[in-house]
Point group: C2
Chain length 113, copies 2
DNA sequence: CCGTATCCCATGAGATACTG
DNA sequence: CAGTATCTCATGGGATACGG
């Protein structure tokens, strides 16, 4: 997540950009829609505003999401996937399928987080 | 990584089992070979023994790797992928390809970690 | 509405030394 | 060889309050 790191393996480099607890879920939420800050938060009720802001800034820095600010009051900010961001969706789709098949016992639709 | 957690989304459940800094790299190292503890360590020079042990125990607990102990002196322990472990390799392959294409600037073959 | 600012805790993770 | 045992530090992450 930090800048200017170097990795000997592409897998490690990829994990750094799209890994962690929240980034895959944020990218997943944006996979086929542009969302406002509060809308992402609604899709991920367990994340705090602080973490959502932090993760979105990193995703923006790594060119995975676009951040569009409207000069309005009250403020309006929209997030969407860049081309690079869209390119990770097939990976997340596989991950989702894998999770459904192999982690069934850990999945409960009535539980947050 | 902890036991008995529940997730509302398969992606989150999957991330918990195969995410983090080291697990993808360990699984990747085992993708087409059985390796001893020290051999995995040789492929991942940046990991400490302590972390390698910890991650391998979690992978074993989640049925992603087999651990085979030989009753010899000096000790010999071999690690290999289970069927479940093998099933994540296609995901890591995609991740590797993605990293090569999109994280080129962060990859340096002469650097550890 | 979209964030910051603080404070705080749990976990990840490194370094080093030691052992059956 | 394949780990443990300590100790330490950095980061991730949560809770809450506040602000333009």
């Amino acid at each position: 997540m930090t800048e200017n790191k170097k990795y000997c393996c592409p897998v490690a480099a990829a994990i750094d950009e799209i890994g962690g607890k929240w980034k895959p879920l944020i990218l997943w939420a944006l996979k086929d829609q542009t969302l406002r800050f509060s809308e992402i938060n609604r899709e991920l009720p367990a994340i705090t505003q602080r973490m959502l802001t932090k993760q979105l800034r990193e995703l923006e820095r790594d060119d995975l999401v676009n951040r569009k600010v409207y000069a309005e009051v009250p403020p309006k900010v929209e997030y969407s996937l860049t081309a690079k961001g869209k390119s990770v969706i097939p990976i997340l789709k596989l991950l989702c399928d894998w999770g459904e098949e192999y982690c069934k016992s850990k999945i409960c639709l009535n539980v947050l987080e």
